[in-house]
């Protein structure tokens, strides 16, 4: 396993900002030089191929990191929850908040001491909202309710989110056919591999956008029902805990979420 330390270091080096920039450059490189690649001199084509292959490792590595990371996290949570069942806690305000959002939600909130659960989360299928036990002491009741409001926002917008996810999955198909059309005009009879990799990076970017949009929407729902101040307070607390506030594949940066909410104070 020691041989894989360089891989872990590489993963740590790939902060979200770097990953996003590389993915955008992969998409741009796939669109412009790739479609007219066969008009280039041979040396330039070699140079391009090497450069593109190196950059293309990033979206692939990023996907592996995201998928395996999420899977390991889910397995860990499930294994821990088998022995230490989350406890039910009933907040009467939750029903009121849900009603304001137009939801019929009258379920208890689950509290867990699972070390793998870092923040409030919702299971969109069972609609169970779970919060970590430490939050009960770290946050004021109003702030916990704001976080629950955010999760209820996810439940409310589940339909829109699913539709956007489906559309985002079709995005690379549109991308690849669009470029295939251009290559056809240019006289090529096949789609270069660079365009295929570019379309994958494009899908990753679009998916990330959908995830972020979903978070902003849930923030907005919480703001409308609970108010902006408690949610900002929660984000400020989280900002204090993270090393670099630059967002992730699934969540936008906290400073951006705070800035959006501050305009409603």
């Amino acid at each position: 396993m020691d041989d894989l330390t360089w891989l872990k270091e590489f993963g740590r080096f790939l902060t979200f900002r770097i990953k996003r920039r590389v993915m955008i450059s992969v998409v741009v490189l796939a669109i412009i030089p790739s479609t007219i690649l066969f008009y280039f001199p041979l040396e330039l084509r070699y140079f391009y191929a090497i450069g593109f292959t190196l950059l293309a490792t990033v979206p692939i590595f990023s996907t592996v990191q995201l998928v395996t990371g999420s899977a390991i996290q889910l397995i860990k949570i499930a294994l821990y929850n088998r022995k230490h069942k989350p406890k039910e806690i009933y907040y009467p305000e939750v029903k009121r908040i849900a009603k304001k959002m137009g939801l019929d939600y009258d379920k208890p909130i689950y509290v867990t001491d699972n070390p793998n659960v870092n923040g409030p989360c919702v299971n969109l299928f069972s609609k169970k909202i779970t919060i970590p036990l430490s939050w009960l002491t770290k946050c004021h009741r109003s702030e916990i309710l704001a976080a629950i409001g955010h999760e209820l926002g996810h439940i409310k917008n589940h339909g829109k989110y699913s539709k956007e996810m489906i559309l985002a999955s079709f995005a690379p198909v549109g991308f690849i056919f669009g470029l295939a059309f251009i290559t056809q005009i240019l006289g090529l009879l096949y789609i270069p591999i660079f365009i295929q990799i570019g379309s994958y990076a494009f899908m990753m970017l679009i998916l990330s956008y959908v995830f972020w949009r979903n978070e902003y929407r849930a923030d907005e729902e919480s703001r409308k029902t609970v108010g902006a101040a408690p949610l900002i307070a929660v984000f400020e607390m989280l900002q204090n805990q993270v090393k670099k506030d630059e967002g992730s594949d699934t969540h936008p940066p906290l400073h951006d979420r705070i800035r959006r909410l501050e305009s409603f104070l």
């Binding site: 002491t137 004021h140 902006a228 101040a229 104070l265």
Partner: protein, 106 residues
């Protein structure tokens, strides 16, 4: 260090709340929300939320007084004034002790 056990410490450790408490503790006089917000460079409504939390756990006391509204001779508005309670001094003592323990441990 009882504040660690009664949950006050965890609530106080919020960066903005800590700034508010530090400001109130150092000022030794009644402070109103706008003043605190200006001093710590935060939005008054956000400060107001944190003051509610701090009042809830008994670290500050808030009173409402009426003062003349800006730009009007007749109109009066209610302003929220905040002062530190004895519990706040205890909290700061405990935090200082905890910091000393940490420094010694290092």
């Amino acid at each position: 260090m009882k504040i660690v056990y009664d949950g006050t410490a965890q609530l106080v450790m919020h960066p903005v709340r800590f700034k508010i408490l530090k400001h109130i503790n150092e000022s030794h006089k009644k402070q109103f929300v706008e003043e605190i917000a200006k001093a710590i460079d935060e939005h008054p409504r956000l400060v107001s939320h944190h003051l509610n939390v701090l009042q809830d756990i008994g670290l500050i006391e808030c009173t409402y007084e009426t003062t003349k509204a800006k730009g009007s001779k007749r109109r009066r508005v209610a302003v929220r004034f905040c002062t530190a309670t004895p519990k706040l001094a205890e909290v700061f003592n405990d935090v200082a002790k905890a910091a000393e323990v940490l420094v010694e441990a290092k």
